[in-house]
Symmetry: C2
């Protein structure tokens, strides 16, 4: 069987391989036919060399070309939509409809088009002009970006064409993509289209490069290499922390999304008012995509009482009745079993599920666990083990003070939700709870489950460590996500004809927002 | 002799000390009378506890109070100006006039007032509002900030009242200051005034805390503590990297300013046009403050030729003629000797100076070294050793291509300058040189020495590693410097009365710039 070539320096060529791998169809647990290479360091080295050369060209590429590439890629993805959906479905087990075809694929192309618009407009670079001192600054491309994509979004967070990719390219950087090994064929199709889109847009051939897999040691070496600009990683905490240590030691920026259990607090008034509706919302959110969302609600905090008992029972009934979905890989299924065992060992009671399903590929029973607040506080670290999948833990606290203590013991998370009644009876309690939650989460929600992550300029898909590596950045939300892949570049007393267009007196796009002498404006300097 | 108390939890109290130290007068090399404690971990622990409690209050403090404190501090510094100048002069050997009294002190109070204005106005938080989806986000205080100040700016970068301090407070965080041990008495006075300013402004007593010294192990523990928000460090590379490793491993943000040799490239046309003027500018810049600036021009790159020989000789004559200034400490003098020896060992020729002065305290002869481009390229790492003080190395390259290779071998720096002639004859060369320099420096200057760092919104006092720890942040320049001490906080579907004032429909200050549906505006939402 032929081994799939890697994309390096503009050519699809055989990998300098040390081994091969195949992805599996999660619905059958059978290997898929295509064979992919595990690249040796030589491939990384070649990709870094080519990326550094491409970066030098991209840095001065007209933003219109970057935008054209992203727009073209969106269009090309749409034209191969059916094939992409079939391939991703075979590799991930995610439903073709609505998930892959109607939700994730349009989200991906929308993201690419938003990134294109941001590149075109130039506001993302936050041009800042001090006319009195003639000091001017803006963000500029940082250099080659290594993107490690996660297993759970084969399109929207793919290392090619996903959110990090779109942001890196829009900011003017080439991308070295490391495919997620659970969906290499999907990534290959996206890379083919991204590569063509780059060529058609007169961008360097090495604007997009693709490796399928490397050793962990080569991954660490890759993210620490001085030719690289930055790294974006979404995936497991253990692998992410290895990369973080290597990048940190070398002083290279790395943006990580590592783990999150996304606490949801349901206040008593909300339960009194609409328990069933919340049970339904929660179940839908928690079982969506078989619970394999970064923002899956994995921890629910409730106040002890009859209404809470009823709510727990209502959710349990729904969990029992719903079919268990397919998990993304054997690894996900294995880790899920281990996490549930760890939660149970630490004192959580299994209300529903708790064991793998024995038929139909990689599956685990929809699982609900419960633990008293007091018990949680006795082992808060173990009881916030992330169980990535269709599992959630309910923590039943004695009173509001105990809820606050539970929240105070949480690590950093991407999201935190509070459900409260609509008539104001929870308002007093809300203040306390929100205060304890706010500093521990990137996004605070009211009366809404966390699984939807809108691509809005106001979105924050980030949060305190270990949800991410730095609480000031977001992976979703344009233009902010672009600034992760940029450096601040100041021009002090630089002569006018030597300034980058965005810092010239004349606004080059007529639409770029620039901070001129303390006021944001789209006008030229001096009117 | 009484040991100076530390400031913890609002009280000046005896340190839980493990040892004591005294600063020295650099002009005499004699110890100064005051005795300060080396704190044990118990002091750090108490400071962290108090700071965490203060942070919870400050987070909701009206910005007007933060601004009032910073304004009051500026005024209090002015009212004790003479004493501050005397004390700092005794501890640092820096000239009272113009440096301390007329330059650094006014710069410090200006910085405090600019930070006050930023806090009052609210634009720094980059409120972003998506009205269609009702998602809103802004930066919010991160929590206690540990500030480690450098030895070279006893006011403007002091861990109390300096730039990092002003930014941290303006963003709504308490500060745990670690005094620079070469000027503890100056820091004590500033802390007295900052503490009073906080109390008068109804801010928590632990808004400002001060420790004089800790063990390195306790320093590492302090920056990694989960109660801390972030750390700002300016100082030696070795100590900074120790703190960085500790903070990184714990996932706590740390902003570092570590080292920089600030390359200056003088193009042939500039030398032909105004060699003497540039020699004068360079000498002034390089010997200013006895060369002890983060942005001191420590490396000059020239093209071989008769004009360059003349220029080198002109600078050498000036270095010989100028008196050698006082260095900040015995350590600075020791390190400077070692660095010059290392440069000479690596092949640089000493043209002027090269040895300590034997009289008048801590002094080292004004020193100029020279090396051929080829030799530099044979040992680029050793030949860019930072010699912190009145020392510079001239690299004479054979041709423009060699200049480019020299620049390509530089580590990250805070600044890079290019001098070119005013009639355009250097323009061709400029393009190549600037391109090789741009990505390696935070601030690119034309025809201007790097030692002035204006407090402008467009300033970047930052740069690629190892100049700093992340190329996207600046330590000088308001409002950008505030955002280092903040987390991105998103509110998704949060009810209007629960939003922070800055994200409400009504603009709370009437002046805060907010990004509303993609357009920057000072108006209320909906008009």
């Amino acid at each position: 069987m032929a081994i799939q070539p890697v994309l390096i320096a503009g050519a699809w060529r055989p990998a300098n391989d040390s081994a091969t791998f195949q992805a599996a169809n999660p619905a059958t647990a059978q290997p898929l036919p295509e064979v992919f290479a595990v690249s040796r360091w030589e491939d990384c080295e070649a990709a870094l060399e080519a990326a550094a050369a491409a970066a030098a060209v991209l840095r001065h590429a007209p933003p219109e070309r970057l935008a054209a590439m992203l727009d073209r890629l969106a269009q090309r993805i749409e034209s191969r939509g059916e094939e992409l959906v079939e391939t991703a479905h075979a590799e991930t087990g995610l439903p073709k409809k609505p998930r892959l075809a109607d939700v994730e694929l349009p989200r991906t192309t929308d993201q690419l088009r938003q990134a294109a618009a941001a590149a075109r407009d130039g506001s993302w670079a936050m041009a800042t002009i001090d006319t009195r001192l003639n000091i001017r600054s803006c963000y500029r491309p940082l250099g080659p970006v290594c993107v490690f994509g996660p297993n759970n979004f084969p399109f929207a967070f793919n290392s090619v064409a996903g959110g990090d990719f779109a942001a890196a390219i829009a900011a003017g950087n080439p991308v070295i993509a490391k495919a997620n090994t659970s969906h290499p064929a999907t990534t290959r199709i996206l890379a083919q289209e991204a590569h063509q889109a780059a060529l058609e847009s007169d961008l360097p051939p090495a604007t997009v490069q693709l490796l399928y897999r490397t050793s962990h040691a080569d991954g660490r070496r890759l993210v620490a290499d001085p030719r690289g600009g930055a790294t974006a990683y979404t995936g497991s905490r253990a692998a992410g922390l290895e990369l973080k240590a290597a990048a940190d030691a070398a002083g290279r920026p790395i943006y990580l999304e590592l783990s999150s259990i996304n606490p949801v607090v349901v206040l008593p008034g909300a339960l009194a008012e609409r328990s069933d509706k919340i049970a339904e919302e929660f179940t839908t959110s928690c079982l969506l995509g078989t619970g394999q969302f970064c923002t899956n609600p994995g921890l629910v905090v409730l106040l002890a009482g009859a209404k809470t008992d009823e709510f727990v029972e209502a959710v349990a009934a729904r969990f029992r009745a719903a079919p268990a979905g397919t998990l993304l890989s054997a690894g996900v299924a294995r880790n899920l079993s281990a996490s549930v065992a760890q939660l149970a060992d630490a004192g959580a009671q299994i209300l529903v599920g708790g064991r793998p399903e024995t038929t139909g590929g990689y599956r685990f029973a929809n699982t609900l666990l419960k633990v008293a607040g007091e018990k949680f506080l006795a082992a808060p670290e173990k009881l916030q083990t992330e169980a990535f999948g269709n599992v959630s833990l309910f923590v039943v606290a004695r009173d509001a003070a105990e809820v606050a203590r539970v929240l105070d013991n949480l690590e950093g998370n991407l999201t935190g939700c509070v459900y409260s009644d609509t008539r104001g009876s929870d308002d007093g309690l809300y203040g306390t709870i929100a205060e304890h939650l706010r500093g521990r989460v990137g996004r605070l929600l009211n009366d809404k489950m966390p699984t939807g992550v809108a691509v809005s300029p106001a979105m924050n898909h980030g949060g305190p460590y270990p949800a991410t590596g730095h609480p000031g950045f977001t992976a979703v939300g344009i233009p902010a996500s672009l600034r992760r892949f940029a450096m601040l570049a100041c021009y002090d007393n630089v002569r006018p004809h030597r300034l980058p267009p965005l810092l010239a007196d004349r606004n080059p796009t007529g639409r770029a927002w620039r901070l001129i002498d303390g006021a944001w404006a789209q006008a030229n300097v001096g009117g």
